[in-house]
Amino acid sequence: MDYRICSLTGLKINKPAEDLIKWNMVTAILFLAIGGFMGLLMALTRWPSVHYLDTSHYYRFLTLHGFDALLLWILFFEVALVHFTSAVLLNTRVVAPFSAWIAYALMLVGAAFVNIVVFAGKADVLFTSYVPLKANGVYYLGIIIFAVGAIVAFANFFANIIQARRDKAYQHSLPLGTFGLAAASIIGIVTLAHGAVIMIPVFFWSIDLIKYIDPATYRLVFWGLGHPSQQINVCAMVAMWYMTAGFVLGAKPVNEKLSRTAFVLYILFINVASEHHLLVDPVLSSWHKIINTSYVMHLAVLASMIHAFAIPASIEVALRNKGYTKGLFDWLKNAPWGNPAFSATFLSIIGFGFLGGTTGVIFGTEQFNIIRHNTFAITGHFHATVVSGTTIAFMGGTYLLIPYIFRRNLVLPKLAAIQPYLYAIGVAVMLIGMMAAGTYGVPRRHWDITFSNAIFSFSFDPSADMFLSMMGVGGLFAALGGAMFIIISLGSIMFGRKIQ
């Protein structure tokens, strides 16, 4: 078989797995570059004194920002992790490379369809495309093709695991990192199946073969795609935290039972949280809303609390074992802060936990949702989860995997050492500005909050302007940090010093 031994980790790396990881990662990074640039344009437009884009470009690029950053960057990266955890970590192979490449091709074609049709101005519907707002059929077709590709990619995870079991690559239990990706893949399949189920009729509706799509049904099933796809991120991100701690520090989960319980709770209960998006909708009953938004008793939140305990604890134990035992915080002082894989993981834990998780639980309560729904505070909340949580974790993952998979050293190591901090601080400032502006009622997805041409004129509390400017400044720093990431990661992949 086609294997090499990684000189850094001792892992046995299967050639097809290596190629799949490379292509999926590079594609992910390219879409982050597009999506992040669009994010910069968004920040520049919502910054009142700059107000850069005109109306139609603002909505067009907002559609693209949501789609490229949220779906494409993250899902391509997760497919790379699927192959990493189900083949490389188990020292075994990708069973059906052909189907994995088909999955990659479908995802890429679907992604290209959507990008082209949005750029062409034929789908200014924002990534939620609430029916009966109608885009060109190619848009829905692109989403369907992408979703089918992603389903095939996640199915590959299970195929690899079955084969690994047969090959005795593991005896009883998967490594925790792989188990986390199992959770991600399970959720991925539920999610993308919802996506396909709703987008197929909508596609036929967009080409006039179906007359009517019920808007409430669309919203229900769409959020069965839209929200759980964020839960794939949570699982993959947490798995990335454990793996980075393992690779960088040799950290061991303090208690496998504890950490695995948390993943099982995610698998069983986290998906119903889709309901968050529908709390102030007509149609669904209060009981449907209460049961679903409480994650069937907040058990999935319990899971996050468990990880919040288990990961720092395992890092502490690992560092203490290295001899940093003086006092309570010697270990923390001596953590490898200059290693971007580690610092990104750490920042991601803080950002996700303190900014994302807490606001999520609050805004997800029926009564609080009334005063936050569709305001800029929501945009602040999900930048905390999906940017300061998932994106930073995956940036760390990229730094970790470039030496292992691409066999290159990082270029510009000094810049790489500060990149996670710059990005995390920029994003934090930006999203705190967003959350604060939202408390004054400033809506998200809105081109002109001065309502200068509307029949009734209304102005928000002047403090809102200040917070929007704060968002703009934070956004600039985040964009700078994002650009540094793109340069360092692609630069290392192409020009980094080779590792033998």
């Binding site: 239990s173 199992a182 539920v190 998906n271 119903v272 669904l284 449907h288």
Partner: protein, 59 residues
């Protein structure tokens, strides 16, 4: 070979049932699909089809 594995494990402590459950990713897969589909999607669709028509209002 399953037989070999069984032999190697003879005499060892049995694996706790909960651990076996956590290790069974296909059972978890089934539950992970079934729970949200029933609790969120199917229940939601049932509510949507039961929404009453707009009644007649006397202004």
């Amino acid at each position: 070979m399953p037989e070999e594995r069984e032999k190697a494990e003879e005499g060892k402590e049995p694996i706790p049932a909960w651990q076996l459950f956590y290790d069974d990713i296909f059972l978890l897969f089934f539950l992970g699909v079934a729970i949200p589909t029933l609790v969120y999607t199917v229940w939601g669709l049932m509510e949507i089809v039961q929404i009453p028509e707009l009644p007649v209002f006397k202004p």
